[in-house]
Amino acid sequence: MKRYFGYLFLMLGLATSTARAQAVNRETYLREFERRASFVTSIYDTMQAPGYAQIAVRYAYRHDIAQADSMFIALLEAPRGDMFWMIPVIGAYLHGKDKMSPATAATVRHAWKTYAPYRGDTENHWCMYYSALFLAAEQWPNLPASEWYNGKSSHENLQDAKGYLIHWMKITTTIGQGEFDSPDYFPEYVIPMILISQYAQDPDMKLRGQMMADYLFADFAAEHLDGQYIGGFSRIYQPAVYEPLLSGASAFAYLYFGTGKPTNSGWAVLPALSDYRLPDIIYRIAVDRSMSYVEKERKRVRNVIRYGKEMNPPVYKYSYITKDYGLGSLQGGILQPIQQHTWGVRYTYGRPYTTIFGLHPYWSGLELGMFFPEEVKTLIADVVASKGTYNNPDKWTSSSPYERTFQYKNTLIVLYDIAPGTTTEHIDGFFPRNLQERIVDPSGWILCKAGETYVGWYPLQEYEWKEEPGERGRPPSVGSQLDNERIKETGCWRLRSHQLQNGYVVEVRSKDEVGSFDQFCAQLRTHIPQSSLKPGNVSVQYRTLGGDTMAFTFPENRTLNGRTIDLSETKLFDGPYLHAEVGSEKLTITYKNERRILDFKSVKITQ
């Protein structure tokens, strides 16, 4: 019966998600949020396999408590998962501490004495680790050092955890997030903040948790399209890079914005059970795509521990977002190891593949040595053991020191000056097979149509095409059966070019902007880039469809209509909805005549 209701919720969810979300009033939003939250939790409500999400739901809904207790005790017989254990365990405990048996409570407490989680080596690890430790130390105050896995007292743990979290909030709100805008790691930040906003006893931290959750959601709301994160990202896994709705962030877009597709992600359970609610102003930004806009942001590179002059150099992000598509880019270079997505266009048409992007597939011990402390000579083997695509020349995520971008509105130039002998000596472009059109035009443009979004790609060097099948054998997720009916083709056409001095120009427009696809093609045929492609002198000059002249010389010389672009002037947030100065610790969120200010210096929200 419960399963039946689960699918009922699913169908209701799909009814809203297949249409583009329209803003609704607050009461309706809250009601629909509850419905979506119920759908998320309903799957875990009846699931018999033990899991922390299943436990949390049972405690939160006050049913099957004995089963939740026995699941909890069984799982804690052999804890594992480090901070990915800490967050769900403390989350489940907080939902059940007044309902669970004394024996269960004792088992949970005992686990925090005997299981020593690894602290991790990156920002999302530390955010989860210290958020969970903070909440746990508050729950069990005044315990001596002997009662904790790390030999520190409750007070010491509380201070240590709080110290890190405040540091992280400060650095994020002054020079930007390190693992910024990660479709796959968004939940790892937002879940801890939601838990702190709900359960912290320290009022300062409780408010900070709420503010950081708002901050992260506001960042996402301004840069998503139908549940898909837009633009360049610090970290994303295959296959979410070409199937965007698979990412963790999309599950949160469904839950909080009502966009994308229903999710059964276990990561969404604790937020679905929480009392955190998205501020109305962020929700409205998330669902309003009536106006096209530019969003410029400044983030920071993950800690550079070797081979760099600066520990956290700036990342400059530029996105252009419309109701039909979003084109976004980072400036290029090595900004994150392994999983960087430097640029992409994503659009609302078609599923599962809704994106076109390009990259230089690169790997090296030096790149890894910049960010990881292990031995440079063996780091590649170390990374490949867990991230098998890292040294694959056909991979679809990569940073490259030989790649730079220049974007203005919906036009993008990408240039490469690749050193001979490096990994690899080619660049790739991803063109999904479910495009309606992919025309190789005599003018040199590759002209693509995806619903009402048109993409033109002008390669500056010769290239070849390779047709590649989609991934097979992946079990269908909830909601995917309906999607599958719409999927005619998966897989892609891979554009590969072997010239070391290389590049391309990308123009994206929608039907609303240029009319028909034929009109788009006709216009592009009269806009041919002029380039010089010699080692050490890679440049292009191009007059955009919008009439602007872009000149770009690799690596950093960008001019627009004769004016030099200085990326260092980029603010932390600079768009129609979000504004923050570098160093300010303050984010101003604006929508029409509403405003919400998150001031982390004074720890205050002004509405």
Binding site: R80, G81, D82, M83, F84, W85, A116, P117, Y118, R119, G120, D121, H125, W126, Y130, A145, S146, Y149, N150, G151, K152, D160, A161, G163, Y164, H167, N303, I305, R306, Y307, P373, E374, E375, V376, K377, T378, D382, A385, S386
Partner: protein
């Protein structure tokens, strides 16, 4: 005061144990970073600190937290194994009761600690090398201070406390070998400025002689406390060295290892080297240690190959456990 009392107790216990410790046995400690694949949050095999009570043992026991990626280990020798520190991804762990209880003495600022060294005269003074600089505590870990002043590159991977003068320290960095003459308050680069120095090791008798292993440039030696360095060439046909160690009973005998090197041995104080790899099936060697009670017994900690042991001064090797492990450091303590 507390530190002084502890020192007194430890020194006394050391003296009490000296007679029976002589030539009795050695305890072997091995810090393990990973075993096979390590994925944060995954079902990883046990990492951390392993030990053998006696070098005749064939199995390894584990102590402390079992999932911490242990890079370094240090034992306060006079304590007979009571005071041990581990440098790990989680910071600096310390026990004062031979592993019955452990405490992470560092806070959130110290992460991915790669090396730990205890002052041989005062167990309350501890140094650690990290990718973010050098840190020091003078109260057994109650408080840590960053001590990176003068370092042009903060990535540090090993620290040596001069056995003749504990105010003098050396550390290996991404910018060469640095020296401090005031207990790490200020560092100055020595005459070795090649990038990517991975290890610095001091001659156990002559404090002015040090060796440095580098990521790309082989091994260097100084005979004057770091003023001038010369490259060791004879017999070395590889360039990446992570470990250099002396036979404490005969410092003319040395061992070195690194990336695809296997084990190199010198019997003339580093003038010339030859490979001694018979039986060693994993050639990425990260740590070598000689048993002070038996110079023929040598341990090699490898990357993903566990530990190998030689009972004939490196002539032949056999596997000695911790299969699949990255063994970052091995130390052998005579008790």
């Amino acid at each position: 005061m507390k530190a002084t009392l502890l020192l007194l107790v430890l020194v006394l216990s050391c003296r009490l144990g000296t007679t029976e410790a002589l030539a009795q046995h050695s305890t072997v400690y091995a810090s393990v970073v990973s075993t096979k694949v390590f994925v944060v949050g995954g079902a990883n095999a046990e990492t951390g600190l392993f030990y053998q009570h006696s070098s005749d043992d064939t199995t390894w026991e584990h102590t402390g937290a079992n999932n911490i990626r242990a890079f370094g280990v240090a034992v306060f020798t006079p304590s007979r194994g009571q005071v041990i520190c581990i440098a790990s991804g989680n910071g600096i762990h310390r026990t004062t009761d031979a592993g019955k209880s452990w405490k992470i003495t560092t806070g959130w600022k110290i992460t991915e600690a790669l090396w730990v060294t205890i002052d041989p005269k005062d167990p309350a003074i501890i140094f650690c090398a990290t990718p973010y600089g050098v840190y020091r505590t003078t109260d057994g870990g109650a408080g840590w201070e960053e001590k990176s002043r003068g370092l042009k590159a903060k990535f540090t991977s090993s620290i040596v406390i001069d056995h003749a003068n504990s105010k003098i320290l050396y550390c290996s960095t991404e910018d060469g070998v640095y020296r401090s003459d005031d207990g790490a308050d200020m560092w100055k680069r020595t005459g070795l400025s090649v990038g990517g120095v991975r290890i610095v090791a001091q001659h156990p008798k002559d404090a002015s002689i040090l060796f440095a292993g580098t990521d790309d440039f082989g091994i260097y030696r100084t005979r004057n406390g770091g003023k001038y360095w010369e490259k060791c060439e004879a017999g070395l046909d590889q360039s990446t060295f992570y470990t250099i160690t002396f036979d404490p009973n005969n410092p003319q005998t040395m061992y070195a290892g690194g990336y695809v090197t296997g084990v190199y041995k010198s019997i003339d104080g580093g003038e010339s080297w030859r490979r001694v790899n018979e039986g060693l099936t994993t050639l990425n060697v990260h740590s070598i240690a000689v048993d002070p009670t038996n110079s023929n017994r040598v341990y090699a900690g490898t990357m993903w190959g566990g530990i190998y042991r030689s009972d004939d001064g490196g002539a032949t090797w056999h596997h000695a456990g911790l299969s699949g492990s990255q063994v970052w450091r091995i130390i052998v303590q005579p008790f």
